[in-house]
């Protein structure tokens, strides 16, 4: 074994003990008289061997953590979650020390939930800290704001996830329920616009759009007019005409306007979901110089939840770090201007401005490519999240990572990956004598497939054209729990599946059957 390889393997207690006993023999220590297991010389030798094995283990762990390519192996070798956490902390220290890269901590999701009160419900107040969640003992969120729940009206309320993690980014339409009791109120995670500021302070509102492209204008249309809210579904403009006195002076307060918007039905309700006061609402509502566009991102997530950055993702950022200084040596250009594919991977993984964590897990850069078509001087940058696709708003935010200063040559196109389902079909034959339940084996296979997706994602990111071989999948499943799985009787696709330019794989395991024998 080479020195380098030798240093990657800790010397065990028994190996140190054998080495120590050999030294005793060479030094004529009378070990032949150590007949009792409680002999002090024997006991001290065992203790010393154990002490050396422990510090040797620390040495090899520290040494291996210095090499990015050893990270995965170190994690695989971790004996416990505690060990794994300690090792990952070592990675983070190395990333900070050697690459100037800070890992991304887990983030709490903030969601915009829409609460709707039926006509027969009483008027109620949702206090900050009220709980919503998925049915049963599922995910929980706590409201960040107080809101009035008025019969036949809706309210959009920001809720914060109870725990950090990406699993809170559930799809639109996920069944939710209020855990705190509010009679006649339902809750959904339908798409809603983020709060848009109209006016200022006590004379202003936060307004939430109900669809894309909505604008709001607050107007003074002349003397002696009532407060009126109208909506044009053609122009998608919601117009609030303020109540005026005989002198043409606007009289409607922000709170009155809020009430009018929330109570409106018909067209206005199709344009705006909800309005709330910025301040007390006691001042006369500010006019808008023109129709102000409301924010819309097509989702309900105010701030995405995310898991702590994985070691694999951190490693990829570390190894592409040095590519970002390119372009300054040969041509005397500003560093970073001629981004290599790997440099663009680095910037694609960076956290976009305004985000607490990046929504991107993997980045693939295609040279000479405009969204799948040959195009000289252009690159296509494909972003994939842990779940596969990346939301359009997130793609736009990440695209800004490449600007100011510009970090690429030619032109770039940034796009989300498209999920491609890879069907796994066959029978997993399990040894009954293993003592494992079929559910346990299925869980092992799920973990193995998730790990394999990490491997494929890395390959995808390195621009190797990712090919999914059926034989490889069989091997992954077979190896998921070798002591329990006899074999995986594959009846799925033959040969391989080559992913096209923007495809990212997703496993479909519905065709896998688990059985004993």
């Amino acid at each position: 074994m080479s020195l380098f390889k030798d240093l990657q393997k800790a010397v065990t207690q028994s190996e140190y003990f054998n080495r120590l006993m050999a030294a005793h023999a060479a030094n004529e220590v009378p070990t032949a008289t150590w007949l009792s297991v409680v002999n002090i010389g024997l006991s001290i030798s065992q203790y010393v061997s154990e002490a050396l094995a422990q510090v040797d283990s620390l040495l090899t762990e520290t040494f291996r953590a210095l090499y990015l390519e050893e990270w995965q192996g170190l994690l695989d070798d971790a004996a416990s979650d505690t060990d794994r956490a300690r090792i990952e902390e070592r990675f983070r220290i190395n990333a900070r020390n050697f690459y100037g890269i800070e890992y991304s901590a887990a983030q709490l999701q903030v969601a915009r939930f829409v609460l709707t009160s039926v006509a027969t419900a009483p008027t109620q107040t949702l206090t900050a800290g009220s709980i919503a969640g998925t049915p049963g003992n599922g995910l929980l969120w706590a409201s960040q704001l107080e809101a009035d729940l008025v019969p036949s009206q809706r309210a959009v309320v920001e809720f914060q996830a109870a725990e950090a993690g990406g699993n809170y980014n559930v799809p639109i339409g996920t069944t939710l329920e209020l855990k705190s009791t509010f009679v006649g109120v339902s809750i959904t995670n339908q798409a809603s616009g983020a709060a848009t500021k109209i006016g200022d302070g006590n004379a202003g509102l936060w307004v939430y759009a109900a669809q894309a492209g909505v604008s709001v204008q607050i107007v003074n249309a002349g003397a002696s007019l009532p407060l009126l809210v109208t909506g044009d579904l053609g122009t998608l403009i919601l117009t609030v005409q303020l109540r005026t006195d005989g002198g043409g002076v606007a009289q409607s307060t922000a709170d009155e306007v809020r009430n009018a918007i929330n109570a409106a039905t018909g067209n206005p309700a199709q344009l705006v979901l909800y309005a709330r006061n910025q301040g007390t609402g006691a001042s006369v509502m500010s006019l808008t110089p023109a129709a102000l566009p409301l924010a819309w991102d097509g989702g309900y997530i105010q701030s995405a939840g995310s898991d702590i950055e994985s070691a694999q993702r951190l490693r990829r950022r570390c190894e592409t770090r040095l590519d970002t200084i390119g372009g300054g040596g040969g041509l005397g250009l500003p560093p970073g201007l001629l981004g290599t594919e790997d440099a663009l991977v680095f910037w694609g993984l960076a956290t976009p401005t305004g985000y607490t964590a990046s929504p991107v897990r993997w980045v693939r850069v295609l040279s000479n490519n405009k969204l799948g078509v040959m195009s000289g001087g252009e690159s296509t940058i494909i972003l994939a999240s842990q779940a596969g696709a990346v939301a359009a708003a997130d793609v736009s935010a990440v695209a800004l990572n490449y600007e100011n200063p510009r970090k690429y040559w030619g032109a770039i196109n940034v796009a989300s990956a498209a999920l491609t389902t890879i069907p796994l079909i066959g029978v997993v034959h399990v040894r009954a004598s293993s003592g494992k339940t079929l559910a346990e084996v299925q869980e092992s296979v799920s973990v193995a497939l998730a790990n394999f997706l990490d491997v494929l994602g890395d390959e995808w990111s390195r621009n190797s054209s990712p090919t999914i071989f059926s034989n490889k999948l069989i091997g992954v499943v077979d190896g998921a729990d070798p002591s329990a799985i006899i074999w995986f009787e594959w009846t799925g696709f033959v040969g391989s599946i080559v992913l096209s330019w923007n495809q990212f794989p997703a496993w479909n395991t519905s065709g896998m059957v688990y059985q004993y024998g």
Partner: protein, 240 residues
Amino acid sequence: MGVLSDYLLREIPRPAFLGGKRITAFLRSIAETGDYYAWRILSARNEWTVATATREALLALARDWNDRGFDRETTSALRAYLLTIIEQHRKKGTDDGIMAQFARIGCPSVEIVTELTLRDAGAVNPFGANVGFFFVIVKQPNPFSFTYAAWDGGGEWDDGTSRWGWFGSADDIRDIEDILRRWKPAGASCRFVIFDEDGTAGWNAAGLTGNYAQIPINEPWEIQTSGLISHYYNTSFLAP
């Protein structure tokens, strides 16, 4: 003797009751075993230091910096390269960077001919006006041998003895592809590499000239789901 043996048995005073022959022998055994651990620590330090690392460790260090070693590169050359790693990576995305990498595999003289260069030289619609397309001429001296005559005489791609008349191995091709992927700016695309056989290879506005062997290069995404690659300016900058 070793680090711990010297220290425990020679440098620090020991009380008389630890000075007997048997106890000294016992302590020596422990100290010598500890010396092995100390040697491992010192070895680890050496392996993580470019100036003293073995080749295997140097290769791993190179990968830490998103770089690599080559089979054709000596250990001392690899070490010298890694000692200048920051300066080297400042050349990423530049012609100088690509040329420096070719030098590492024994090709010190390389010409990079871009679409713009060809256009300036009067070539008509070179590379189909695909800005950023380029080709590489690996001039003499280079470590590859050729069967130019065999190729001219009808030899085929990978006919069992040579690849399009070029005796570089498939691993050499992978090395060259990897150099180009890592070191060219994103958006640029090398379409082929020609290897000068006898000092005559070159180009003018009308095409390639002289004696050379030629290897097509494609971007990885050009591999279609069928596994095939469509030919596109892979043998000539004038004809797709």
